[in-house]
């Protein structure tokens, strides 16, 4: 929980399953400040190929606790900039096969416009600032 909003950033071993996360808990945590009218979810999925070469999976690596610290710091910035009510992030570490979810971002806001803006801003900054790495597992090498 941060100020007037809710922030969480968790690392998950392997793929992120449907329904994983804490939407209900975070809405409850907002208490009387809960004026959420939009819940946006973005799920990053491992593509079948990279640069034209077939993939089997991606191996993700993090650097705890710096990964979580940076992920929360960015969320705090964006929460203040946009006024959204909650930013929750799950990111995989370890092997995630093609077609599975490796990154789940959930933003809750009063209205859709600031929620969409916050989601886009978070993803852009995460890809620049949060220590997370992926290594391809190529078809034929697995």
């Amino acid at each position: 929980m941060s100020g007037a909003g809710v922030i969480s950033f968790e690392l998950v071993d392997g793929p992120i399953e449907a329904g994983q996360g804490r939407v209900a808990a975070s809405v409850d945590a907002l208490g009387e400040a809960n004026e959420v009218g939009a819940v946006l979810e973005f799920c990053g999925v491992v593509r079948r190929s990279e640069r034209g070469r077939a993939l089997v999976a991606l191996d993700y690596e993090a650097y705890p606790p710096m990964t979580q610290n940076e992920g929360v710091r960015i969320a705090q910035d964006i929460l203040e900039e946009t006024g959204v009510r909650a930013i929750e992030v799950l990111h995989s570490v370890g092997r995630v096969p093609v077609g599975a979810c490796s990154f789940l971002l959930r933003v809750q806001s009063a209205h859709r416009a600031e929620g969409l803006r916050a989601a886009s801003a978070y993803i852009e900054r995460m890809k620049q600032e949060v220590p997370l790495w992926k290594l391809p597992v190529w078809a034929g090498d697995a």
Partner: protein, 89 residues
């Protein structure tokens, strides 16, 4: 022959940079008794490990899990990490 007074830096590597370097930790000699900034350490990494020469200039140095500015001095006794080629999501 190695300078017995030289400071040794151990730099942790991750992801593609660890793969390129073929190791998880890079050991580097610093100047004897002299301070090394984060920017200078990136230059030393590129010199000492040619496999990282292309990516080191665009990387950052973290000490005890905090990113340093290029002019900040690196404490060799702290946990030093190379943060580069980030690719989450």
């Amino acid at each position: 022959m190695a300078d017995p007074h030289a400071v040794m830096f151990e730099v942790r590597l991750f992801g593609p940079q660890a793969q390129l370097a073929g190791r998880r930790v890079l050991e580097l000699d610093g100047p004897a008794g002299g301070a090394v900034t984060a920017g200078q350490l990136l230059e030393r990494i590129a010199e000492a490990c040619p496999a990282l020469a292309a990516s080191a200039p665009a990387s950052r140095v973290a000490v005890d899990h905090r990113v340093l500015a290029p002019e900040d001095v690196v404490d060799p006794a702290a946990e030093v990490a190379l943060i580069g080629l980030i690719s989450g999501g």
